[in-house]
């Protein structure tokens, strides 16, 4: 009941405050909900919204760097995001709702690490890098290593996500899809993202796809990607890719959100759309 709260003003102070038993808070749109439902027992909150190093959307030599505390509204409205990743723009458009987007952050979204989090599948196909800081220094972790399971990440208790970096993908197309129960606000009951490098050159084309809610973390079906890359594609290829994917994933039966059949159908439709977009 005696909740502690502090709001450090510098990165150094923040790192000093971050330890086991501490919950970092950005937008609070997951944290406060989890406190209410008692999914989390929270005794100490450290508000990270005042740290300048966690802000900013800028092009660097590593790629597009997005500060962990950038909100989904900022992502939606950023011309850089629109240019670098239509898929990221698309997921930011539909995440939560207007008011939630003003508060929810990209860092918060990936740290909560829900299997169906909106940005997860997009960062997964981009092979984004997550920049992590602690008093011991800064490290870079590929997104697929960062997200380790249902509400789990590779973060140590004393680590803070600084930013997320999308590597350059000059000649590419990307898109994001999800299924929901209503056209209003909903979590993604299933989602998927695709990033295709050199989409117009079948022989060089690299296809990356990632699906959420079908495994504990966003899932890249590598065998299907290998099948779909570096060659022109036909409907039969998509059938085969689908079969490969289905064999690998394990969507939980009994979800209150979407059934395994609905998720499989969504994957099927996603592959059809991919074919349509790539067809010469």
């Amino acid at each position: 009941m005696n909740l502690e709260y502090c709001k450090p003003q510098t990165l150094e102070d923040l790192l000093a405050e971050t330890r086991a038993g501490t919950h970092l808070m950005a937008g609070g749109t997951d944290l406060l909900v989890d406190m209410r439902s008692r999914k989390k027992t929270v005794q100490r909150i450290v508000d990270i919204k005042a740290i300048p190093e966690l802000r900013g959307i800028r092009e660097t030599k590593s790629g597009l760097e997005i500060g962990a505390c950038e909100t989904f509204t900022a992502l939606r409205e950023s011309p850089l995001v629109a240019a670098w990743s239509p898929a990221l723009r698309e997921c930011a458009d539909v995440m939560g709702c207007h008011e939630i987007r003003h508060r929810a952050t990209l860092g918060g979204n990936i740290c909560n690490s829900s299997p169906g989090c909106e940005s997860g599948v997009v960062l997964s196909v981009h092979e984004a890098q997550v920049r992590i800081a602690s008093t011991r220094g800064v490290r870079l972790v590929p997104f697929d290593t960062f997200a380790t399971g249902v509400n789990r990440t590779c973060l140590e208790p004393d680590e803070v996500v600084l930013s997320i970096i999308l590597p350059k993908a000059a000649d590419s197309l990307s898109f994001y899809r999800r299924i929901t129960r209503t056209a209003g606000m909903d979590l993604a009951c299933w989602n998927g993202a695709a990033l295709v490098l050199q989409p117009r050159t079948p022989a060089k084309r690299v296809v990356r796809i990632s699906f959420g809610t079908v495994m504990p973390a966003p899932y890249r079906p590598r065998a299907a990607e290998a099948l779909l890359s570096r060659r022109p594609l036909t409907p039969a290829d998509m059938d085969q890719a689908y079969d490969l994917i289905i064999r690998e994933i394990a969507p939980r039966a009994g979800s209150v959100r979407a059934s395994p059949a609905e998720k499989k159908r969504a994957i099927r439709n996603f592959l059809d759309e991919l074919l349509e977009r790539l067809a010469p």
Binding site: N2, E4, Y5, G28, S37, D47, C97, E99, R103, M185
Partner: protein
């Protein structure tokens, strides 16, 4: 743990002592007696608690009061001086977009927020601002009508200002 916060609410500076766990919604309603913002779900799903914080529409049930230290807050009570109403409120009354009224402050604040943020907001912008607001009574037809009226008004203003 008690925190002292200073914030501006509807143009008036307030100093309050709040618990870390207090939501902004609870403090507005129970300490400042601004009961226009409503608690419909407590988890940011319905929109009935929507207020403006630093000119952005946010869900007060998902903000801790301590986070509002230094903030500029506008609630439905602060939209217009007594004796006056805003275009949004007028449009809602005329379209009969109010039945039980519990969701109404949230809808009004969302539209106010969007129109202040974006004076050239289109119909799509306004509807987007309402995407996460639930109403169980009206079936939304009248709310859509009110929004259409506002969109037309904004479009006329935009047209005029371009001339």
């Amino acid at each position: 743990m008690t925190h002292r916060i200073t914030l501006t609410v509807n143009g008036i500076q307030r100093t309050l002592h709040v618990e870390a766990a207090d939501t902004l919604l609870r403090v507005l309603r129970e300490e400042l007696h601004l009961t226009g913002a409503k608690k419909g779900c407590g988890e940011g799903e319905c929109g009935a608690c929507t207020i403006l914080m630093n000119n952005q529409a946010i869900r007060a049930c998902l903000v801790l009061a301590v986070e509002a230290d230094g903030a500029d807050i506008v609630t439905i009570e602060g939209l217009a001086p007594p004796g006056e109403i805003t275009r949004v409120q007028k449009a809602f009354i005329e379209a009969d977009a109010v039945q039980c009224g519990f969701c109404t402050p949230g809808f009004v604040m969302a539209l106010e927020g969007e129109m202040r943020r974006n004076p050239h907001a289109t119909r799509d912008d306004l509807l987007n601002a309402l995407g996460g607001h639930l109403c169980r009574c009206t079936g939304y037809e009248s709310i859509l009508q009110a929004t259409d009226t506002l969109a037309r008004q904004l479009a006329q203003k935009t047209k005029k200002s371009k001339k």
